[in-house]
């Protein structure tokens, strides 16, 4: 870690934990069959969860995105929660009923245009007083593309070049107004400075120009989040993001990922504290470790029902396996690597042949049934135990550089993070690794990010026209 970051942490004693929460989207984390499970659509669910984690002083609230219901064997996948509202719209509503919590939206760079996305994010930043964040994702598949004007799918190799240029254009737009461009001086009759908002960008993916209609938001630029795990994705995060999500929530794997990604920052002229690494995590909390373990087991089995186990296997095998017994051994037939039975899910796209071989080996070695295997490879729950056990484990994970914090996904909507907030957060505060109170008002403040500083460049009479890459 470079000197500045190290020094800041040495002063604080220990590394500070960052906490985020996600209202679960479309996957089998949500145990919707639980009688305490409520709507994943009703605004009251979002308000309840957001206000709970704001009470817990979390950094931000996050929403994932999917732009077409998944289809399994040609029909809408029906075993998990289906249906979600539009992210930025929900977060704009939440901005009215929260005061400090960061509000992070996943917005795809493939099925959108920079002017629109930049303006919507600037709007959220204004409405929330500087709490907006954008998780830039790059799904590219033709299946989702069928919902969009371009029929919009990209070659896989183009998705990150489009995303990088998309982000570059967005930053050009956010920088096209400077702080102070809005004068609003009724006596003098000057509402704005001449030329405010003027921009131009020409590149392989975008050729855009004109004047941007959203003046600079409180954060200048919303916080940028990235969630890719390929080499390209990690480079994109190292060069361009403030936060990277990952699925690596086992300490050994997480430390490898952490080292790799932090190691890439220097190559982009950035310090290690400028990119926060936040794996997705779950927490199962009970009075004692034993009770928590039993509860975790119960949750995991509800998450992987017999039908879900077969469906996951089918997604990897690329064929119908409904005749197989979920409590029996793996199928004797081989996977069909070419056919896709599950559409709209990035995880089951690549390397399925290799995944199947690994699963078969694991099942044989351990004598696992289909369902037991799916439970095993699903990873179960991240943190399980009494509040003390969970607080210690979170702290240990962060101090040993497995992560800078976590995005917690509850298995129940919306009450699923109550215990974490009410019973674990106070222990983290006691340890001095988590804030007692918000010390700033913007998400950048919570994350300890200073870039980009408020724009203080002198205002020229004529706006410079930024062309491709000139500024980067």
């Amino acid at each position: 870690m470079p000197a500045a970051g190290k020094k800041a942490e040495a002063q604080a004693g220990k590394k500070q934990v960052h906490l985020a929460a996600q209202l679960p989207g479309i996957h089998n984390v949500t145990v919707w069959s639980d009688s305490r499970s409520r709507s994943q659509i009703a605004i009251d669910s979002f308000i309840r969860l957001a206000q709970t984690v704001e009470r817990g002083k979390f950094d931000f609230f996050f929403l994932a995105e999917g732009l077409r219901p998944r289809e399994h064997k040609g029909q809408v996948y029906d075993l998990d929660v289906v249906g979600r509202p539009e992210n930025l719209t929900v977060l704009s509503a939440l901005a009215a009923v929260t005061t400090h919590l960061g509000l992070a939206a996943t917005v795809n760079a493939t099925f959108n245009e920079p002017y629109d996305v930049a303006r919507r994010l600037a709007t959220l930043d204004h409405l929330s007083g500087g709490r907006a964040a954008w998780n830039v994702v790059t799904s590219f598949d033709a299946f989702t593309g069928e919902n969009f004007r371009r029929g919009g799918f990209l070659a896989e190799s183009d998705r990150y070049t489009r995303a990088a240029e998309f982000l570059d254009v967005a930053r050009t737009l956010w920088d096209s107004w400077r702080d102070g461009d809005v004068r609003a001086d009724p006596k003098a009759g000057d509402f704005l400075l001449p030329g405010a908002g003027r921009f131009a960008h020409r590149g392989p993916h975008f050729d855009v120009s004109g004047r941007f209609s959203a003046p600079r938001g409180p954060q200048g630029h919303p916080v940028i989040i990235q969630a890719g795990e390929s080499d390209q994705g990690r480079e994109f995060a190292a060069s361009d993001a403030d936060v990277i999500f990952s699925k690596y929530n086992r300490l050994d794997e997480a430390r490898d990922f952490y080292r790799d990604v932090k190691g890439r920052l220097a190559g982009h002229g950035r310090a290690e504290h400028e990119l926060k690494i936040l794996p997705t995590a779950t927490a199962v909390i009970a009075d004692t470790d034993e009770e928590a373990a039993a509860y975790a087991d119960e949750i995991t089995r509800a998450q992987v029902s017999p039908q879900t186990a077969i469906a996951h296997l089918e997604a990897v095998w690329g064929r119908d396996l409904s005749a197989y017994d979920p409590d029996g051994p793996l199928p004797d037939v081989e996977p069909e690597a070419e056919s896709l039975v599950l559409e709209g899910h990035s995880v089951f796209r690549k390397g399925r042949g290799e995944t199947a071989r690994r699963w078969r080996k694991l099942a044989e070695e351990r004598g696992l049934s289909i369902r037991e295997l799916i439970i095993e490879v699903g990873g179960g729950q991240t943190f399980v135990g009494s509040p003390r056990t969970v607080a210690d484990a979170i702290d240990h994970f962060v101090q040993s550089d497995g992560a800078d914090g976590f995005v917690f996904v509850p298995h129940l909507t919306p009450g699923g993070l109550d215990d974490l907030v009410d019973r674990v957060v106070p222990l983290l505060q006691e340890k001095g690794v988590f804030r007692q109170e918000y010390t700033g008002t913007t998400l950048r403040d919570h994350l300890g990010l200073n870039a980009p500083a408020r724009d203080t460049r002198p205002v020229p009479g004529e706006r410079p026209v930024r062309s491709e890459k000139e500024a980067s």
């Binding site: 919707w32 659509i41 009703a42 605004i43 219901p69 809408v76 029906d78 075993l79 998990d80 929660v81 289906v82 249906g83 509202p85 539009e86 930025l88 719209t89 929900v90 704009s92 509503a93 901005a95 009215a96 009923v97 099925f111 959108n112 245009e113 002017y115 629109d116 303006r119 919507r120 709007t123 959220l124 204004h126 409405l127 007083g129 069928e146 919902n147 969009f148 004007r149 371009r150 107004w177 809005v182 609003a184 009724p186 009759g189 509402f191 704005l192 400075l193 001449p194 405010a196 908002g197 975008f206 855009v208 120009s209 004109g210 004047r211 941007f212 209609s213 959203a214 017999p306 039908q307």
Partner: protein, 412 residues
């Protein structure tokens, strides 16, 4: 209330509809992009029991010229996304309808449809929508993926000429509205079953591909957002000429028109009626509400509103021009006018306050009590949804019946 109730909406835009409104006494020009400013306005409108507020959204930077950008620095410039603004206002209010404008020429129909559906969920059934085409060729360069007709000085003198030049954009906009309506219907109301016995969260037979294939784009569906509380949020459009009347007749629940007197209102409503007929819409099954737009300056003291307007005209360097009739006077005068115009067949009015918050408060605290005294306006909300306020029933999903009912709208 005696007789049919009058419907009232206000159109909120920046500091008000006079270009110099931001320099008026009581204006808050430094706060036009803050949440608090809009919260104050919409709660005031709700206090006045209005049916709904509309929120403008120019998408591109505002301009004094209809068809091209300008370089003026003495008028309000800069705006927020209206759908997000409306969503922000939803938890701060309980009854008033929220009707954002969106551009439909450069945006994605799928995103628009789920945004408005989400607004309906977030407001528990108070969402409307005003789809608007992009009349400025310069807007196309903001997106860089197409060009649109460049209107000339000649074109913009006459609404019929404008509409004729932009006809392809209206045709495309009709497709956008049709796609949105199908996406809202693409989940049947009872699609979510949470059937623990079979492990199924939804009944997949109640989600439908919309399979829209048009001249301009295609959309597969289904929506990712379940059917909104109103079934279909209320679609509204502003129209000044035959093509937009047809657009309204084809896909809107409510049309704003801009007559300048009673006779003008009659003439326009007749044209709207003809458009309805040409389209083949059955108004008994699917009514089209008609609102007249008026730009208003209101003061209790006779003459004060006109003086206020002249001062602003002076500051702006020219007399205010508008597509809508400009009214200056007292709330009592305005009440007289509204009640006389409505006999042409209008269901209500959308008032554009000349200055904010002044003319909004004059509407809610002056005009509304005056209309209540005359027994033509509600004294309390009796519904919680926008459809409820307007007396529009909640439609069934078109996919909810095995036997496909013929749609009232030919899909363009």
């Amino acid at each position: 209330m005696t007789g049919t109730p009058l419907h009232l909406a206000v159109a909120l835009d920046g500091a008000g509809w006079h270009p110099a409104a931001w320099r008026a006494e009581g204006a808050r020009p430094g706060e036009l992009l803050t949440a608090a400013y809009w919260a104050d306005l919409v709660t005031e409108a709700e206090r006045g029991l209005l049916d709904f507020v509309t929120l403008e959204d120019p998408l591109g930077l505002q301009s004094a010229a209809f068809h091209r950008p300008d370089e003026r620095t003495d008028q309000v410039r800069g705006s927020l996304d209206a759908v997000l603004l409306a969503a922000h206002l939803a938890p701060l209010t309980t009854h008033i309808g929220l009707v954002p404008t969106t551009n439909v020429t450069h945006t994605e129909p799928f995103h628009l449809a789920i945004g408005i559906a989400t607004l309906d969920h977030a407001s528990k059934g108070r969402a409307g929508w005003r789809p608007q085409i992009s009349a400025r060729a310069a807007d196309a360069a903001l997106f860089g993926r197409r060009t649109t007709p460049q209107l000339t000085e000649e074109d913009v003198r006459d609404p019929e000429l404008i509409a004729a030049r932009l006809r392809p954009l209206f045709a495309e906009a009709a497709d956008v509205v049709e796609v949105a309506r199908r996406l809202w219907d693409s989940w049947e109301d009872d699609a979510e079953i949470r059937d623990a016995a079979t492990g199924r969260f939804i009944d997949r037979d109640k989600l439908h591909h919309i399979d829209f294939e048009g001249t301009y784009f295609s959309v597969k569906g289904p929506s990712i957002t379940p059917r909104p509380p109103q079934g279909r949020p209320v679609v509204t459009s502003l129209a000044h000429a035959s093509t937009p009347y047809e657009f309204a007749a084809g896909g809107s629940d409510l049309v704003y028109v801009t007559p300048h007197d009673h006779a003008g209102a009659e003439a326009i409503l007749a044209q709207v009626g003809e458009a309805v007929e040409r389209i083949g819409r059955n108004e008994r099954e699917w009514p089209l509400k008609k609102f007249a737009d008026l730009l208003v300056f209101l003061d209790d003291e006779p003459g004060a509103a006109a003086r206020r307007k002249s001062r602003l005209d002076e500051l702006n360097g020219g007399e205010l021009a508008s597509d809508a009739e400009i009214f200056t006077g007292t709330p009592g005068d305005l009440a007289d006018l509204l009640l006389s115009w409505r006999t042409a067949g209008l269901d209500g009015f959308r008032l554009r306050p000349g200055t904010l918050p002044h003319d909004l408060a004059a509407i809610t605290r002056g005009l509304v009590p005056e209309l209540q005294r005359r027994g033509v306006f509600r004294t309390a909300y009796d519904a919680t949804t926008l459809r409820g306020h307007l007396g529009l029933r909640r439609p069934d999903s078109r996919y909810a019946h095995r036997h496909d009912r013929p749609s009232a709208v030919p899909s363009a």
